[in-house]
Symmetry: C2
């Protein structure tokens, strides 16, 4: 028996016919309804909320745990826990706009892209010079090989006086030939984040960033974190292709938008570079990433590979190149290599540099000259808002700054100055720091007993689903429906996250045989690293106090690295060399890390 | 108004609905009815015969000229001159089997193909060796690059102990990886003749020729000779694609047949080499060849190019390579380069060698060490049976040997010992030689007057469509319906053909500043060159008498060259070097050639 499901999103109505008993989340995904599903529909995260407008289904115990009473009352249910057994009408929040970090420090780069254009004049043949057209063109362009497409283009332009050759200078291959003078040459650097993807359109003749385009990583419907995504594909090879296809489809939409907006021909886009964590790059090329998810955590590939755009299904000039930045290991991805390029790791030849890129994992690299060490800590996605009761990503309305200015007085900022919707990573860090400073929390991370708190403090404490909780904002203060809280459980998640990062840093320092005092620069990369308050990061002991004045926030280092990789082909071999110099430290089997981790949990 | 046309061929009936006034030949071509059309349907050659079974249409003056009275009476008409204005029923001879020359001299070749397989053992990773799978495979295989397909295959075999790598040793690229030991490795050498195409399936592990497959060049429906085909495409770019597509479609059918017959997987075919005249190779890759057809006769490309099988649409392993043998000029094609490889041109470092390959053009190359000269003479297709009243290609029933043993007594051979159907090149050469020896013809190529002939000779003379004609075989002698003749016009065609070849040889000798006596070897390549009687070639002065004992018939040298190109990658650069050493002499603007041509017309 089939049921009718009416879905409202952005004031648009979709009418779906659904088989009896189907999972509502799967139905929505298969009908391209966008819905946040960090845990991939496993009933853990409580984010795939729908508002049921028709008769309310009963509430499961899981939903009771993950939803507030008010939400349950208002008809909110979790799609992943709902089966369609009657006709339904549901409403879904519109997809949130992420505030994506596209900026960062500037690096000087040579303009020397692998694909170049070259305009030249050519003489017509006569009976004294009957050499083939290709021979004459190759002489002018200093090329030896030619692609089929270029060969066919030659047949169309053999009467012209001026020609433009497109040359892959690495393979010395003539990959295109156009009539007249046609020098337009573009490339796209792509930062594939687990959550968001950013495209940078670069004019390869000037180095200018012409435009950017970003979108939610469409793979997130299969899980918010990389492991959930790998697990999704494990039982079925076609799911690996599905994972790849959704990503490439969205990428191609981005290319189309960029070319339309900027009046560029797709054929003038000749290079794409991709940066991302190792599993993202695996899924991009149609690999499962399974071997990375399981011990001994080995990737299929780490080296920077160069691929054929057509084979990959990427809609740029079919004769162009697609290049993936090299990674270091299964959990130290090419984004860290991008960060290293962005801070010009090698040029600080005589200083000790540490780069930390915090996402689901805390990836970090420490080095001086060719003495380089890297590791990855399973920090968990707490700082991305996951596993935190009122945690959200960096969406409009996310509390991103927070300060207790006086007894019971609060100052805060939300992203895009929207009404508060939840707490993102930098806000969470501020809140914990303030709770420590003002004595709500002890150094072990426990909320103080009521009797240890002053009365204004007692007023901001409550209980939520059995956990002691601090009221970050009351509904009144924020002008919203429901109080926003931080629970004792949230604090524990943050302790785990910050503890593992701090422990990772300790292990790297020991490997390099240096101490904090010897560190010259500490670069924080990525969105969280860019927006966090460095002082507060030291207050909660995410980073040690003695480095506070050495912290440099570099922004989206991975994206910067991808742009550099795009613009200067010499960086390809440099990045590969950098990668090979890195000593990767596997923490999962390191007793030293376990000890440091236990020591680093306290604030 | 539409008409019904019933077509019978091979006892099979096709029912076609045809618009009023459509050309019958076009109708037949578009419905995949195979029919010989040397002139491409221009009403010149008289070969596109159909037998009308329904009411006979009137006979045009062109048909009266091109068909015998008996044929006209029996309802034979020319499809290219027939418009469909009523319902019709026609019968068409079944497509003839050509006796295609696939054999030739043997050349020792190194087995060193560009694509190789390599079986190796690989250790599983552990926490002490977390290097990516690709890194470990690259170390074992000594490769640096990888294709997307190979990368995706890696993901499937990372649990195996033994792997087989497929490596492009030229680009040092890993192009495939298979589980276990899988050493099968094949290649196909292809000789694209204007008339016929031959595929040689080669086991690249042993060098053995496993099988061959041949077919009529499907482009012949657009014209028998290359110029007709170029002309066909001039007004419409899509016809260039059509010309390419019919060829590649038939090639792929050939690959399928070879793999089926020999129980080989398509993916185990990793290299294809193509040899052919310059226009054939242009049409193969989707170029019109227009610039070759018009002065200054320059090709788009002559160099040996390497192409992507997928882009070309060729159904072998998608990561394999397609290689075209280099050509010398628009009318000295890669077949001559193949011939040069076949006779190992360079190894005769201290002798003067002449290679002649006679097709529609007489292509020839003369050289010693790096002193090499080549030219092409527009011999015309007389020796291929075209433009000759009773001329046929090398089909079963073609008169291939002919001797007047005594007064009025004849000995002859037909191909496949079938009843005589016409005269092919070698038969024609024998007949002319015999007519000269026995005094039917004078040295100017004119039939003697009746009074100069003996009575037995007079009995074998007749008149046909206004031309004096020699009765090659009477219907009685041959047990066929109609006498087979050679007309005075045919003799003129042969004089033109042989004269231009002889003149070409003279010009080359003069360029090289040698005379016939200094020539060490004269190689005859190709079907006609292989089957002709060398003595008779000297009798008719196609070749001078003094070289008779230096003639070596090498068979299908082009095919041999393509096989060598397939088996030994070192030959790629050797062939390119050979090509560059050749001095091409353009005869169309050579006054010397014109003089020699006039002198060489006599027998």
């Amino acid at each position: 028996m089939d049921h009718q499901v009416v879905v409202w999103q952005n004031n648009e109505r979709k009418d779906l016919i659904v088989e009896q008993g189907q999972n509502l989340l799967e139905v929505l995904h298969h009908n391209d309804v966008s819905l946040d599903t960090p845990c991939g529909g496993q009933g853990h995260c409580g984010k795939c909320k729908v508002k049921v407008l028709s008769a309310l289904p009963p509430v499961s115990s899981k939903e009771e745990e993950l939803l507030s009473d008010k939400e349950v009352e208002n008809g909110i249910r979790l799609a992943c826990l709902t089966k369609v057994t009657v006709d339904m009408e549901v409403e879904i929040d519109k997809e949130v706009e992420l505030d994506i970090l596209t900026e960062g420090i500037n690096q000087e780069v040579d303009l020397d892209s692998q694909i170049k254009k070259f305009v030249f004049e050519i003489e017509q043949p006569d009976l004294d010079d009957q050499r083939g057209f290709l021979t004459r063109v190759q002489e002018k362009t200093n090329t030896e090989e030619i692609t089929l497409k270029a060969l066919q283009q030659l047949d169309q332009v053999d009467k012209e006086d001026f020609l433009t050759a497109i040359i892959n200078t690495d393979s010395q291959e003539l990959i295109g030939i156009e009539a007249g003078k046609k020098e337009e040459l573009y490339g796209i650097a792509v930062d594939i984040g687990t959550t968001t993807v950013v495209l940078y359109l670069i004019d390869l003749n000037t180095g200018a960033e012409v435009d950017t385009y970003s979108f939610h990583n469409p793979q997130k419907v299969f899980g918010a974190d990389v492991i959930s995504r790998v697990n999704y594909t494990l039982d079925d090879r076609t799911k690996v292709e599905e994972m790849q296809n959704v990503l490439i489809k969205k990428f191609n939409e981005g290319v189309l938008s960029l070319t339309d907006q900027n009046e560029i021909e797709t054929d003038d886009i000749l290079t794409v570079t991709f940066v991302g964590n190792t599993i993202m790059l695996h899924t991009l090329v149609g690999l499962s990433g399974e071997s990375i998810a399981k011990a001994p955590y080995t990737p299929i590939f780490t080296g920077g590979v160069e691929l054929d755009p057509t084979q990959l299904g990427v809609n740029i000039n079919s004769e162009g190149v697609v290049k993936l930045l090299p990674s270091i290991s299964g959990y130290v991805g090419s984004d860290i290599v991008g960060d290293m390029l962005a801070v010009d790791f090698n040029s600080f030849a005589d200083s000790w540099n540490l780069i930390i890129d915090i996402g689901t994992n805390g990836e970090m690299v420490l080095g001086k000259q060719d003495n380089i060490y890297a590791c990855s800590t399973a920090a968990g996605p707490a700082f991305e808002g996951a596993k935190i009761m009122f945690g959200v990503a960096g969406i409009p309305g996310a509390i991103s700054k927070y300060k207790i200015t006086a007894e019971g007085e609060i100052e805060y900022q939300t992203i895009a100055e929207q009404p508060a919707k939840g707490i993102c990573g930098s806000g969470l860090l501020d809140i914990v720091a303030e709770l420590l400073i003002t004595g709500f929390l002890n150094s072990k991370g426990a909320f103080c007993k009521d009797e240890e708190l002053e009365s204004w403090q007692q007023e901001r404490m409550t209980e939520y689903k059995g956990f002691k909780s601090y009221i970050v904002l009351t509904a009144d203060e924020a002008g919203i429906e429901e109080d926003i809280l931080v629970t004792q459980k949230d604090i524990r998640e943050i302790q785990l996250a910050k503890g593992s990062i701090a422990a990772g840093i300790e292990v790297l320092l020991k490997e390099a045989n240096i101490d904090y005092g010897m560190l010259d620069n500490l670069y924080l990369a990525g969105g969280f690293g860019n927006y966090l308050d460095p002082h507060n990061a030291c207050v909660i002991n995410l980073l040690p106090e003695e480095v506070e004045d050495k912290i440099i926030q570099i922004g989206n280092g991975a994206g910067i690295g991808a742009k550099m990789y795009l613009m200067d082909q010499k960086i390809t071999s440099y990045a590969d060399q950098l990668r090979e110099q890195v000593n990767y430290i596997e923490l999962s089997s390191s007793p030293e890390f376990q000890t440091e981790f236990m020591n680093s949990m306290e604030f």
